[in-house]
């Protein structure tokens, strides 16, 4: 479902000069798979995801998402993806229902379809109690559930999660993790960026470790642990990073 070929991204910064945020990265991610992007802050994970979501333009290489080229078929790609980031905000002056409806409309869903999907999602995520509440009055957990509903209203085959549990309390984080697992069970293609080791080991089918924009290791958590001869995945990760 996602094929990445030699993808690169270069930024020009006045102070730092040319910065290679992502260098020549290639990998594949299949339906029903949770593909982890692992790396320290500034490693290039978010840039990679933003390129795949077509909101940043690749400097080199290309990728296909759900069969569409990110460089030439941006709108087609965006119709088929959902994007969830912990840092993403909500429209505070709109209600939970209005936010989700808006994204349903933007994704081309009919009014009746939006109504049906909202009914379904709000029941699944237990959102009916605060459906008419303005987003600025919701708790962090409620907001996160609205973000999830917004990301899946159009039932995208591909989902990107950019550090979705970062900074959340354990209960809210559990909701997100459950949701990601449900998406996997539904056969969606999932790219999951994080630097929380237990999440990786517990959820990811395969992991790509990124450092300074380069893909330095790729495999299942068990494979990487075995390759490095470490008792746990976190130690394997540090060993790989340190060797780089």
């Amino acid at each position: 479902m996602i094929t990445v070929n030699n993808l690169s991204k270069t930024f020009h910064d006045k102070k730092r000069g040319t910065v290679n945020a992502v260098s020549d990265v290639s990998f594949e991610c299949n339906p029903g798979e949770i593909f982890g992007l692992l790396g320290a802050n500034g490693a290039g994970k978010t840039t990679m995801m933003r390129m795949l979501a077509t909101i940043l333009e690749a400097s080199g290489g290309t990728a296909t998402v759900a069969g569409y080229d990110i460089r030439t078929q941006g709108q087609d790609v965006r119709r088929r993806i959902g994007f969830l980031s912990n840092s993403a905000g909500l429209y505070e002056r709109l209600t939970a229902r209005e936010v989700v409806t808006y994204f349903g409309e933007l994704n081309g869903l009919t009014t009746s379809k939006i109504k049906k999907r909202i009914e379904q999602i709000f029941t699944e995520l237990d959102m009916n109690d605060f459906a008419e509440g303005r987003c600025d009055s919701l708790s962090t957990g409620q907001k996160q559930r609205v973000s999830i509903a917004r990301a899946i209203i159009h039932e995208p085959p591909v989902l990107f999660f950019d550090e979705p549990t970062n900074g959340l309390d354990v209960l809210v984080a559990r909701t997100v993790v459950r949701f990601i697992r449900q998406c996997k069970a539904e056969g969606r293609t999932i790219v999951f960026s994080t630097h929380i080791m237990p999440d990786v080991e517990a959820m990811c089918d395969r992991v790509a470790i990124i450092s300074k924009g380069k893909l330095i290791s790729l495999g299942t958590p068990a494979e990487l642990r075995s390759e490095q001869g470490t008792p746990d995945f976190a130690s394997a990760f540090f060993k790989i990073i340190d060797a780089e």
Partner: protein
Amino acid sequence: MRPFLEKDPTLKQTLPNLILIIFRKEFREIFRDKRTRMQVIISPLIITPVLFALVGVLAQGQAERTKTRTYSLGIVNSAAYPDFVKRLKSAAQSSPQFTLTDMKTEAEGSASIRDRKVETVIVFPTDTAQKLASSQIVEVKMLTDDGNENSQNATRILTGVFQKINDGIVKTRLNEQGMSVDVLTPFKVAEKNIAGAGGSGMLILTQMLPYLLIFSVFGGSIYAAFDQVAGEKERNTLETLLVSPARRRDIVLGKFMAVFSVGLLSAGMAIIGLMIPFFSHLKIYDWLAQGGLHLSATSIAVIILSVLPMCLLFAGLLLGVSTYARNQKEAQSYLGTLFPLVTLPALLSLFVGTDSGIKIALVPILNASIMIKQALNGNYNPSFIAVAFIASAAYAGLVLLYAIRSFEKESILLKA
């Protein structure tokens, strides 16, 4: 596995009008902001009429005080013309009153004015009676203080008193010669204000409407525009929107339409607020509305023609600033530069006549002010209006293009 997009027959094959969807959402969200509601609706509908009422109350109060006030008057050589003192003392209670102080010299009068002991001093020549008797001109001096409003008012009232004295003396002299006073007035010109052509209110409207519309549209559009992009960056909602199927151009145009609509609504509300004094029939607005209001269909059309490109220009300009800024605070800091750019042309319209040359039609904002003035005066210049409209629309197009180009840059996300 649930059906995905391609397989679901209930999904629309082609995307709907995303610009319209974005516009609807933005417009709704804008009006949930108290600041916008206050600026666009409450302020023009309440504050403008209240302001006019306040001006009316103050002006009427001032006029009343001027009429009935007691002024302090110094008279040098009052004995030379005692009739004058008698006349002032016999003034009706409803007329201005004077407390009189006898003075010996002009120098004493000047000093008294400087020391604020009196407000005005009249200096009669010692030979006043003799000159009057021999029909010579009596040169009376009136010492006043230009920096003292009461002195000015007293001078105006006393000039009226002298006019009446002059008229009376001239009439007596002419009668003695067997002539009518009419011999001095070959033409008697009477001004008559025609109802419906507009009175003093129209004059005030001509001066104020350009300002009011410019500031209303600009002020109303500020919060809306800054909330649209800079606000989205600040609240981290921009990335989510960019990941949607909407193209960046759709997003900017949707937001632009929303800001433009707020600008138009602001202009409409400003006009309604300004009309309230004219049509409310309240006594407090008599000073403004007594001459009526005359606006032809063409005048209204010209005003709309001037407002449309102005709303477009401000929407594009403010959206451009909002796109450039990292957050709303930064966007507001650019207002310091923007305000003079907007207020200066509006101020210049005070000094530029409605018959100004075609080059003026190229100056944004000023051209709109002149168009509004032309509309209210009824002396339209079609060439001016056409050039002004096209120029303003072109400027609006340029700033909108800048906003789209800025929005299409990656930096919009990286600066967030």
